[in-house]
């Protein structure tokens, strides 16, 4: 026992130190700056108290970015996890091409968000336009020039990228379900749908906890895909929280206000994620 304490500090110490230096200390510095009027260039940061926090709530752009992000998070949590779970079910059925499918579905995750954004931008603006013109389907034209289609563009991009990753998590969970349980249910006369609802889904609930958490927090923090796909346009209607904070800091030179937004952002994301974990955990069943 005593020995393990030694090894604990031996291995964890350096990491803990690094964590404190690069995460904890900057975080507190950031909180400090959120009470100042720092413009990001000079060394003069004057203490202005809570003014930034009051301004945040008066900032219409921040509010609309918040609503947009929340909407996006809700929709993409649903689509990503449904797709991920669906794909996982598909590739665990013992098909001959299962292995190939697994890597194919996971592949988008290996591409960086920025590149993906540009790839999909090409698809939405060029491929969709040509398809729309050829087929006469008007709704395919002018994607990304419109807030609604811009929103769905982001959802499609994000689902395409993250579904494969979620699939891997669900595969691991699905494969840990004992065959005997499924067989027993089969003998009892349960059809495929009943087996899925009453046996499979309750048993993979822990994976859903992880999957929901990852997609929820990732959707809230999304920046690079947002930047490269729409850049927040048209007229900031597809601007998400992270981008709003970045723009406040770097385009309007208002680092204090941006820090204030960032602190609020941090608290919100933490609160939402923790609540979600608490409730998802409650639903998990012991085998």
């Amino acid at each position: 026992m005593k020995n393990s304490k030694f090894w604990f500090s031996f291995f964890v110490g350096p990491i803990l130190f690094a964590f404190i230096v690069v995460v904890i200390i900057p975080m507190f510095m950031g909180i400090y700056y959120s009470f100042t009027d720092w413009n990001g260039i000079g060394n003069t940061a004057n203490w202005i108290g809570l003014k930034n926090y009051i301004d945040v709530f008066k900032d219409k752009d921040f509010l609309s970015a918040f609503i947009f992000t929340a909407k996006f998070a809700v929709v993409s949590v649903i689509t990503i996890n449904l797709m991920g779970f669906g794909l996982a079910l598909l590739v665990t059925r013992g098909l001959k091409i299962s292995n190939f499918l697994r890597s194919a579905f996971f592949m988008p995750n290996l591409i960086g968000g920025l590149i993906l954004g540009f790839v999909w931008q090409f698809i939405f603006t060029k491929a969709f336009d040509s398809l729309g013109r050829l087929s006469g389907l008007g709704f395919l034209e002018g994607w990304l020039a419109d807030p609604t289609t811009g929103f769905w563009g982001l959802v499609i991009l994000m689902s395409w990228q993250m579904a494969g990753y979620m699939m891997v998590i669900y595969i691991a969970s699905l494969e840990s379900i004992p065959e005997s349980l499924i067989e027993a249910a089969e003998i009892d006369g349960a059809n495929a749908w009943e087996r899925l609802i009453h046996i499979t889904i309750p048993l993979v609930a822990p994976a859903f906890t992880v999957g929901l958490f990852l997609t929820l927090s990732n959707s809230f923090k999304l920046y690079d895909q947002n930047l490269s796909l729409t850049g927040g346009g048209p007229y900031n209607s597809t601007q998400m929280l992270a981008m709003n904070i970045y723009n406040t800091a770097f385009k309007f030179d208002d680092f204090g206000l941006a820090q204030g937004k960032a602190v609020i952002f941090l608290i919100t994301v933490a609160a939402i994620s923790l609540t979600q974990i608490y409730y998802s955990k409650k639903r998990e069943v012991e085998m």
Binding site: S9, P14, W143, A145, G233, Y235, K251
Partner: protein, 441 residues
């Protein structure tokens, strides 16, 4: 026993953590010792168009000055550069030479800029050209070059349509010409010679620097006499707001998305210049002499057949284009003395030595901001066009460097997008942007 283990653990923790940082420490030392025999100047600049040629100029300079090493880093695009520069300063790796826009930038960066008033090029500057870089009668930065923008058009298409360009001198005649051309494109008259031609204009509303800065400057450049005046202005009046609206509408209505203007909000610079003008899909774009290289990269014949039409604002001075300085070179005040000396010397060499001048005019395609270039004429047609306007006095100033930080692109640019999408009326654009200007000052 327990206690000693605990202490040992603590010591190990400290040692391990120190080892983490030992690596960084030794590296830093090495850099310093190297710096003693060779002066290293770090340049952080924004003009992607000249990145390669600037490297060549640096090599030439280093040959003449073997004890100086110059590192160039380029981050392109107006706003990205500003953010990257701030990030660079915050991270502690401050560049020795960097770029500043106009009065707003000079003020923002005031405590980082070296006073360059004693430099030899100051006396060579063209009249008025230093105004944007001067504060309290001190010159803080060297202008890059002179640029002008307007309606860059394809001469061939205008000839084929039988339009006499020399008669386009004001908004009325421009609108007339655009309508004629539009009718001929729609009737298919030009199809044979220009099969891809589908519209008169391409207007990239996605690029808020085109709409929010350049387009708006055609009107505000007549309301304010200089970027300094704009910078000092407590409010903006939009004296020529109606004229500005007409210029925006003209470009939007006669673009390839004329009947669905909201789609212009997805049109970008590449779509406008390379996939528009360069392949002869459109006849006119609102851009400046800097697009020459871009167009040339696609089709040299098209590039050499370009010229610039005026950007007329009805009710103001009409037969003119906005001409100004896009960026300035500044030297970091906090760099070491020998580095600063080398940095100043390099800039001086680049703009006043014969070898440097050759780069400026013939490799960068710059229109020089200084006197002493009499033997070197711009070679590309757009540079020539800008020079022609400048010499005839048919210019208005660039004042958008004096807009409040973020106002042009983030406020006005976005509002123009909303206007094109039909979300707001032009009156609302004017009221909102006026209010924002006052708030941001």
């Amino acid at each position: 026993m327990f206690k000693s283990k605990k202490i040992l653990a603590l010591v190990m923790t400290v040692i391990m953590s120190m080892m983490l940082f030992a690596g960084c420490g030794s590296q830093e030392k090495k850099e310093v010792s190297e710096g003693n025999d060779k002066v290293e100047v770090n340049v952080f600049q924004f003009k992607v168009e000249i990145a390669k040629e600037l490297e060549e100029a640096v090599l030439a300079y280093e040959k003449e000055h073997p004890n100086v090493k110059i590192n160039i880093q380029t981050v392109g695009g107006g706003d990205d550069y500003g953010a990257a520069l701030k990030a660079k300063f915050q991270s502690g790796s401050e560049p020795d030479i960097f770029n500043v826009g106009g009065p707003q930038d000079v003020k923002d960066w005031a405590n980082k800029l070296e006073d360059l008033s004693d430099q030899p090029w100051v006396d060579l500057a063209l009249p008025g050209i230093l105004s944007g870089a001067t504060m309290d009668e001190k010159v803080f930065a060297l202008p890059f070059n002179i640029e002008g923008y307007g309606f860059v058009y394809n001469k061939g298409i205008f000839e084929a349509a039988g339009i006499d360009v020399s008669k386009i001198l004001d908004y009325k005649s421009l609108e007339e010409a655009v309508k004629t051309l539009d009718a001929k494109i729609k009737s298919g008259e030009l199809k044979e010679k220009y099969p891809l031609l589908e519209a008169v204009f391409e207007y990239p509303a996605k690029e808020t620097w085109v709409t929010g800065l350049h387009t708006s400057n055609t009107a505000l450049g007549q309301e304010f006499s200089s970027s300094i005046e704009a910078f000092n202005a407590e409010k903006v009046e939009f004296k020529y707001g109606e004229g500005l609206k007409k210029i925006v509408d003209l470009q939007a209505n006669y673009s390839s998305n004329g009947d669905e203007r909201q789609k212009l909000n997805a049109v970008d610079y590449t779509r406008q210049a390379e996939e528009g003008l360069a392949i002869e899909r459109v006849a006119i774009i609102q851009q400046g002499n800097w697009v020459y290289g871009k167009i040339k990269g696609v089709d040299e014949k098209v590039a050499n057949n370009l010229d610039i039409l005026p950007m007329p604002i009805e009710g103001a001075k009409e037969d003119c284009i906005p001409v100004g300085v896009p960026m300035h070179w500044g030297v970091n005040k906090d760099s070491k003395a020998e580095v600063k000396a080398a940095a100043k010397d390099f800039l001086n060499w680049l703009y006043t030595s014969d070898a440097g001048k050759d780069y400026i005019v013939n490799k960068f395609y710059f229109i020089p901001p200084l006197k002493g270039y009499e033997n070197l004429e711009p070679k590309d047609p757009l540079g020539k066009a800008v020079k022609r306007y400048a010499e005839a006095g048919k210019t208005t100033p660039w004042v958008f460097m004096g807009y409040p930080t973020g106002w042009g692109m983030e406020v006005l640019g976005n509002d123009i997008q909303k206007y094109l999408a039909g979300e707001v009326t032009w009156e609302e654009v004017v009221t909102n942007t006026k209010a924002q200007w006052e708030k941001m000052r």
